[in-house]
């Protein structure tokens, strides 16, 4: 191959990479192994994983375990959908384009907003894109975010929005876990492009959106509402109805497995006045020359293949297959089904909250309305307790010290329709023994 391309040595091929960026030693790898040994080794490694289907897991915090009806995978794995790459030519891709159009429609209905894009990579990058949208719309460089937005979403956004010179300031929550309206209002100024709030917030608490929208709008900023647990939209009012200008987040909960954290499904919906600032692909319904309904990519002039470096965003793709899974999932459960599903989540979390808060020494630092997650405070450090339960095959939520060093006694617990009463009672019993 080197001869064909006219290079003498492999070193010469990499010459254009500055020497300080080149590894000056061989890779630190074990010697080559026969394929069957390697497979056996990888199998051993994979046994160290705790399979949520084989254990009792109350882990949420941005990745949610929900039941996936068989029809989702069945339709998804049809080769017309599964094997097609960037299927955007209208003359050959009406099925995919129609599915994306339906996904956009469903997201608009859930968010109570006018227009949604064809999806984004995940919730974290969707937030970064939402902040950049606010920057384009308002030409301001500051962002005020509640500290109760998912810490990883904030971290990703900080990385992505620092290049155009934007800054994100975080505001601590009130004692009860909800947004501190007075501190938020004081932080908003004439250079603030957006106020960012998560609903329900990272601590599981449901926020009051209207006053936050009023505060943001009074300062001329957009209100960006982040939804990390999309099933909550089956029960909560669409944030657009409460004054949100941008609703974005993670729709993994709609028919997409946990899969070690990806691929997931970012989404974004906006008011129609921000249509041309919306990043990524957008499918529209159109008519052909004979008056028949058809689907095409629309407003592509915002995108890179036409506008190059002046494009609205550098997102020029979408999570097509995951968006399809979400559309099939939502069409399968239906409007009433989604509401019932959301109700089940809330009821199980309520039951667990009641049972767990009566454990000796345990308390709820943030009482108040919840969806399917809440914070529980142990009488002592959470990590050893968490570790003890792990040995019994129980994942007792997420120890919050991972993100908040002063929350050493706190765990964030999640309860979905898959958390049976039996499992919850097992958790209560195991905790009683461990504490």
């Amino acid at each position: 191959m080197l001869r064909t391309i006219g290079v003498d040595t492999i070193e010469k091929l990499f010459e254009s990479i500055p020497s300080q960026w080149r590894l000056d030693r061989p890779l630190d790898l074990p010697p080559p192994a026969p394929e069957q040994n390697l497979v056996a080794h990888l199998r051993d490694l994979s046994r160290r994983n705790l399979d949520p289907d084989e254990s009792v897991s109350f882990l949420g915090a941005g990745a949610y375990r929900h039941f996936i009806p068989a029809v989702v995978d069945h339709l998804l794995s049809r080769s017309e959908f599964y094997s097609s790459y960037t299927p955007y030519q209208p003359e050959v891709s009406q099925g995919t384009l129609q599915a994306i159009f339906e996904f956009q429609t469903l997201i608009c209905q859930l968010a109570s907003l006018d227009v949604a894009n064809a999806s984004l990579y995940d919730g974290a990058s969707a937030l970064a894109e939402g902040i950049l949208l606010a920057h384009r719309a308002r030409r301001r460089r500051r962002v005020v975010a509640l500290e109760t937005v998912h810490p990883e979403y904030l971290q990703t956004s900080r990385t992505l929005v620092s290049a155009p010179g934007m800054e994100i300031e975080t505001i601590p929550a009130r004692e009860d876990g909800a947004a501190d309206l007075r501190r938020v209002a004081a932080a908003l100024d004439g250079d603030t492009a957006a106020l960012v709030v998560q609903q329900p917030n990272f601590l599981g608490r449901i926020e009051e959106i209207e006053p936050l929208a009023e505060a943001a709008h009074a300062a001329g900023a957009l209100l960006v509402v982040v939804v990390a647990e999309a099933v909550s939209l089956g029960l909560l009012k669409g944030p657009g109805e409460q004054g949100a200008d941008v609703v974005l987040g993670e729709a993994q909960s709609f028919g997409i497995p946990l899969s070690f954290g990806g691929p997931y499904l970012g989404f974004m919906a906006v008011r129609s006045e921000h249509l041309r600032d919306l990043p990524g692909r957008l499918v529209g319904q159109a008519r052909d020359s004979q008056g028949r309904t058809g689907y095409v990519l629309t407003l592509a002039t915002r995108e890179q293949h036409i506008r190059r470096e002046k494009a609205t965003s550098n997102i020029c793709t979408n999570e097509g297959l995951c968006a399809l899974a979400a559309s099939i999932f939502l069409a399968t459960v239906g409007k009433r089904g989604l509401r019932e599903l959301a109700e089940q989540n809330r009821c199980r979390a309520e039951y667990a909250r009641e049972s767990l808060s009566s454990l000796p020494g345990c308390r709820l630092p943030h009482p108040g309305p919840l969806f399917n997650e809440f914070v529980l405070e142990f009488p002592r450090e959470a990590l050893p307790v968490h570790g003890a339960l792990l040995k019994k095959g129980i994942v007792a939520g997420l120890p919050l010290s991972r993100y908040f060093p002063d929350r050493k006694r706190n765990v964030l617990l999640c309860f979905t329709e898959l958390s049976s009463r039996l499992q919850i009672d097992r958790l209560v019993k195991a905790l009683r023994e461990a504490l």
Partner: protein, 134 residues
């Protein structure tokens, strides 16, 4: 009035980026030229700055989207935006049908009238277009 005359009215200044500015008092009305709109094709959307925004001569202040391209428009002079043409939101095609009249883009309070001296006359702009077309 012949088509040629219509294409280069003499009561205004021109830029090499194909904008025009007509001055009355301290206020300039800005648009794009007949030649620019004919090169762009059917205009479908015009994005303009908000009232009060500062313009810097030679810097981009908005975009014009046609069925085949998106182009930036550049400020002929520095100043402050007094208003964008409100009728373009519903009728962007006016940029094509009447580029020197109803298809105007912005009204600007001119910051430094001296900058007008650096712009092209109708005759100079005409010559510039001929040259560019060849």
């Amino acid at each position: 009035m012949t088509d040629k005359q219509a294409a280069y009215p003499t009561d205004r200044h021109y830029t090499r980026e194909h904008e025009w500015i007509a001055v009355q008092g301290g206020v300039g009305t800005v648009g794009i030229t007949y030649y620019a709109q004919s090169e762009l094709g059917d205009v479908v959307f015009v994005e303009l700055p908000e009232k009060g925004q500062a313009l810097v001569a030679g810097e981009e202040f908005g975009t014009i989207e046609s069925v085949k391209a998106v182009s930036e428009v550049y400020a002929p002079v520095s100043g402050e935006v007094l208003e964008g043409n409100p009728s373009l939101r519903e009728h962007p095609e006016k940029v094509n049908s009447d580029p020197y009249g109803e298809g105007w883009l912005l009204k600007v309070r001119i910051g430094s009238p001296k900058e007008l001296e650096g712009l092209l006359s109708a005759e100079q702009y005409h010559a510039f277009v001929e040259e560019e077309a060849n």
